[in-house]
């Protein structure tokens, strides 16, 4: 695991010095993160990097998990889908299952932190244990058009927190509590994002039987309907009519996502007729993801909804041209025609890919701009800074705070 000083060559020593200044102001406070899974998905990935770094900076930080059975996670997955605007039936039984597991967790989880930082809806009910300590609810989901019944159910808990945190301004609405904007981040020194020798990239391509004899278009994401893997294949097939190219669709599934296997089968079915489509199941193999991104000519993120879409920042950090949907946090990462191309449809995605493949100099410039944008705004060091400021904000109500 990288030490904080190792980030200095990428972001500048003064940025690291500022992080230390902030950490000093949090001496004596215990920050406790709580979520539902330690592996798979963006939340666990960020916490795995952030918790050790906060500790190294001197912020007393711990990370706890709630427990739940498959029924509970089926319900929270349904909540996740409908909050993203996907129609699904939600019954009283679903709320009952959610509360049964929540009550067990309320009994079992020791919420001892001075600041209890709860991630996503699964552990949201723990706020019933609130005492003198400060509570933050971190929403990693695109809730721009949430299912009203589920949102209303969650609001009963949200209103008990001291603050809520969202990844994009479009997810905010009038709330009875303070709300902050904190975008997630990528770790430039993780296996998924660090520089890789060419031999490693070639070896990974060889392993999966991918030959670099034609341009590679790639989407890395979980096999999840909201990532629209079938739409990616359709866009690719439109491009392939004019440009000889190949597609890589690669990703894993999270332990709290029971639907992943089903979507994977649908994608395999759709792809089986075309040998230029490579469908790769890569459970938690970060070096391989990194290698595939670096080997690509264009990277896609054609999500229908997106909490944030960190794979976009991953691609931009590798200076790759990106075609991504104009949803969730993606427009924060991609400024259309400046650091990538945004699209609203399969046809739009196909058109954008053709533009990039036919104009390599333009594609290169977009990728380079994207890398600088990520360096300034979406690296882990900025995220550490935001979280420490968020913690400090709980103790200050003013707009301008002298520390």
């Amino acid at each position: 695991m990288a030490k904080i000083e190792e980030y200095a060559p990428l972001v500048g020593q003064s940025v690291i010095d500022d992080l230390r200044l902030l950490a000093e102001r949090l001496k004596g406070k215990v920050v406790q993160h709580i979520n539902s899974t330690s592996v798979g998905g963006g939340v666990a990935e960020i916490l795995n990097r952030m918790v050790p770094l906060l500790r190294e900076l001197g912020v007393d930080t711990c990370w706890d998990l709630i427990k739940g059975g498959s029924q509970f996670f089926d319900v929270t997955k349904k909540f996740h889908n409908v909050l993203h605007g996907r129609p699904e039936e939600i019954t009283q039984r679903d709320f009952d299952i959610f509360m049964e597991t929540s009550l067990l967790n309320i009994e079992e989880v020791n919420t001892h932190g001075d600041i209890v930082f709860v991630h996503d809806p699964q552990p949201i009910a723990l706020v019933r244990k609130k005492q003198e300590n400060k509570w933050i609810w971190r929403c990693h989901i695109d809730v721009s058009e949430p299912h009203q019944k589920v949102w209303g159910f969650l609001m009963e808990f949200i209103s008990q927190y001291h603050a809520a945190v969202f990844s994009s301004p479009s997810f905010s609405r009038r709330l009875p509590v303070r709300q902050f904007l904190v975008a997630p981040s990528i770790d430039p020194l993780s296996d998924k994002n660090r520089e890789l020798p060419l031999e490693v990239i070639d070896k990974v391509l060889e392993k999966y039987g991918i030959v670099r004899d034609k341009p590679i278009i790639t989407q890395i994401s979980r096999f999840d309907r909201l990532k629209d893997p079938v739409g990616v294949i359709e866009a690719f097939l439109q491009v392939k009519k004019y440009i000889d190219c190949q597609l890589i669709l690669a990703g894993g599934t999270a332990t709290d996502d029971p639907e992943g296997a089903k979507v994977y089968e649908e994608v395999m079915e759709k792809a089986k007729k075309d040998t230029d489509i490579h469908i790769l199941l890569l459970p938690q193999n970060d070096i391989e993801v990194n290698a595939l991104q670096r080997a690509s000519d264009v990277i896609m993120q054609k999500s229908l909804k997106e909490g944030f879409g960190l794979t976009v920042s991953e691609a931009l950090w590798k200076a790759k041209p990106v075609v991504a949907s104009n949803v969730g946090g993606i427009p924060l990462q991609v400024t259309h025609k400046y650091s990538g191309l945004l699209c609203h449809s399969i046809d739009g995605a196909a058109f954008a890919i053709k533009q990039l493949l036919n104009s390599p100099a333009y594609a290169k410039k977009l990728g380079e701009n994207g890398r600088e944008h990520v360096r300034n705004n979406f690296l882990l060091t900025r995220h550490l800074k935001d979280y420490m400021l968020l913690f400090l904000s709980l103790y200050h109500q003013e707009d301008l705070v002298y520390l």
């Binding site: 905010s172 609405r173 800074k385």
Partner: protein, 223 residues
């Protein structure tokens, strides 16, 4: 020689770190934007006129303020966008004045172009009002002369430069940027202070701003 004058009081570098607080307020039309602009906290006006400057540090010229970007890119009102982009922020000593200028610009435009009131943003492209919460902290750096000043300027964060040049002047309502003020009052170098007050920092990226100030100061030391 003025360049080697040692100040009685050092210049203490501060850094300013900010977090964005969401208001949940949004606008889908220009009249809604206008109405909300009248009531939102000054921290919102500050955020939307300075966000691009910090987030697009690599861009030269950087994109305009959020209001200008939204009315032109989302609503297609290019002329109003240009008018808002060219509001000369450096001229305004307070957020109140800046707010009034933005409001009067929009009002005048709507008076001459009433059909612009009818345009509305698509779902997902509304204007979301956000405010900047700033934390100001002293750094370990304090300097007594121009040589030390230039050396620290080269390595301090852009956030520190940002605070001393933009935020202290506008948000704390100081008459000049902090660098010019210290050089004039503590080093007595009015000519250099004038040079550091004269350029328009809003048309430079933050790194270019750093390089420009360092170059001006080093030229002075060498003279």
């Amino acid at each position: 020689m003025a360049a080697l004058t040692r100040a009685q009081e050092p210049f203490r570098f501060y850094t300013r770190l900010h977090i964005s607080e969401l208001t949940g307020l949004r606008a889908t039309t220009i009249p809604q934007l206008l109405e909300t602009l009248r009531d939102i906290p000054g921290a919102c006006i500050y955020h939307h006129t300075h966000r691009f400057l910090q987030q697009h540090q690599y861009l030269s010229p950087e994109p305009p303020n959020d209001f200008a970007y939204w009315v032109s890119e989302v609503l297609g009102e290019d002329m109003l966008g240009e008018m808002l982009a060219s509001v000369d922020t450096i001229q305004y000593a307070t957020i109140r004045d800046l707010r009034e200028k933005i409001i009067s610009t929009i009002e005048a435009y709507l008076d001459s172009n009433p059909t612009a009131k009818l345009k509305f943003a698509r779902q997902g492209e509304e204007f979301h009002f956000v405010k900047s919460i700033s934390f100001v902290l002293p750094t370990e750096y304090a300097v007594y002369d121009l040589r030390e000043f230039a050396d620290i300027l080269k390595k301090i964060t852009v956030d520190s430069i940002y605070f001393h040049v933009f935020e202290s002047r506008l948000r704390l309502e100081r008459s000049a940027n902090d660098f010019a003020f210290w050089i004039e009052t503590s080093l007595g170098d009015k000519s250099l202070a004038k040079q550091l007050s004269r350029f328009d920092p809003y048309t430079l990226t933050l790194e270019n701003l750093r390089n420009t100030i360092v170059a001006i100061v080093e030229r002075r030391i060498g003279s």
